[in-house]
Subunit: 219 residues, 2 copies
Amino acid sequence: MDIAIVLYEGFTALDAIGPYEVLAQLPDAAIRFVSYEKGPVRADTGALTVLATHAFDEVKRADILLVPGGPGSDNAEQDAAVLDFVRRIDATTRWTTSVCSGSLVLGAAGLLRGLRATSHWMVLDRLRPYGAEPTEERVVEQGKIVTAAGVSSGIDMALRLVQRIAGDDFAQGIQLGIEYDPQPPFDAGSPRKAPEHVVGMIRATFEPLMAARRPAPRT
Amino acid sequence: MDIAIVLYEGFTALDAIGPYEVLAQLPDAAIRFVSYEKGPVRADTGALTVLATHAFDEVKRADILLVPGGPGSDNAEQDAAVLDFVRRIDATTRWTTSVCSGSLVLGAAGLLRGLRATSHWMVLDRLRPYGAEPTEERVVEQGKIVTAAGVSSGIDMALRLVQRIAGDDFAQGIQLGIEYDPQPPFDAGSPRKAPEHVVGMIRATFEPLMAARRPAPRT
C-alpha cells in the first residue's frame, strides 16, 4: 500500500501527521513524504521541520495520495509543480484525499469539479470557484476523492479509509492502538458548537490575515 | 512561554505533534524540539523524520516540558542523557507532561513517586515499579505533573493545559481553530469500549514485541 503525503512550506503538521499515524499501520504501508525535493520542509509555525523522503519527480504512483492544508496551501494552490504532481498521482490512485485547506489544492488541480467537498470551516466558500459544492461534513467521500475538514479531522478520515481498505476490525484495532477515545475539555470544535464570541474571536484574528494573502482563484 | 518537546529515535509522531499543534498557539509560544543533538530524529515507523532544533545541553529551562512515547521510550527510560535532561528541566517548569509511554520516562527520572499517572493502556502496569499509581484516565493532573494516555490523548491534554494557562475562551478558540470535533467511525478507542476480540488482536500483536524489548525497570 503506497501512500504519498505532499509537503510544502507552511503546511499544518497535524493535517499530515494525524492521518500518517493511522495509515502507517495499514498492512504493507509504505509512506512517502513528497515535496519539490528531498529534505527539510518547514511547517506553518516555523518551529517544526519534517524531512521529505522523496522529490515529486521520484514518485510515479500511489495507492493513497494525501494533501494536507495550512497557510502554505495558498501558494500550493498556484504552484504548477504541486498541481502537476497531484494530477499525475491522482491518475494512479485508489484514493485521493485532503485535510483542511488541502482540498483547495485538489480543487486547483481540477479534481473537485461537480463534487461535494469539505475544508477548514473558515475557507469552505473558497471551494466554489473550483466547481465544488462546499459541504459542512467532517469527512466527505465522493468516489475515490475524500476530503476532510480542518486539521484534526484527518484522523477521522484516515480511520474511515482503513475501514474501507482493511475492514472494521482492523480500523478499530488502529483506533485502539492510538487510544483515540477523544475527551476534549469543551465541545467547541465546530462553528456550530463553539460559543458565538469564540467564533467571532477566531474570525477576527484570522480573516484579515487570510484576506491579505488570498490568491486569485484559478478556475 | 517556552515549550520543550523531547525527541528520541522511535518516538511516536502523533504523541508529540498533537500537543505541539495546540501548544504552539499559546501567546508567545516558543517551541523547541530537543534531542541528543540538533538534527534528524526518526519516528517509530521509519518513514517520518523530524528535525531537533536544539541539543539537550543547549536548553536550560522551559515553562512546559513534554515527553512523547513510542517504542523508543524503552531505550529512553534507561538513557542517562534523556533522564538527566528531564530532571534538569523539570526543576524549572510550570508543567511537566507526557503522552503515552512518555510517562515511563518521567517515572524512570523519578518524577512520579507517590503520584497517580497514566500511560498507553498496554503499558499502564509498568508505571508501578516507578512508585506511581496507574490510573485509567485520559489525562491525569497531579500538581504540575500531567500525564496523558495513548498517542492521540496528547491533544486533549494540551487543550486542558491551554485552559489552565490562558483560560476557557482561548482553549475553545484553539479547539475551533484545529476543528477538533472528533467523529471517529467507531467507539473503539479504549480497551473498555473496543470489542473484546479487537482488544485481544491488538494484545496478541504487540505484547510479544513489547516483552522482547522490555528493559529491567530502574527503581
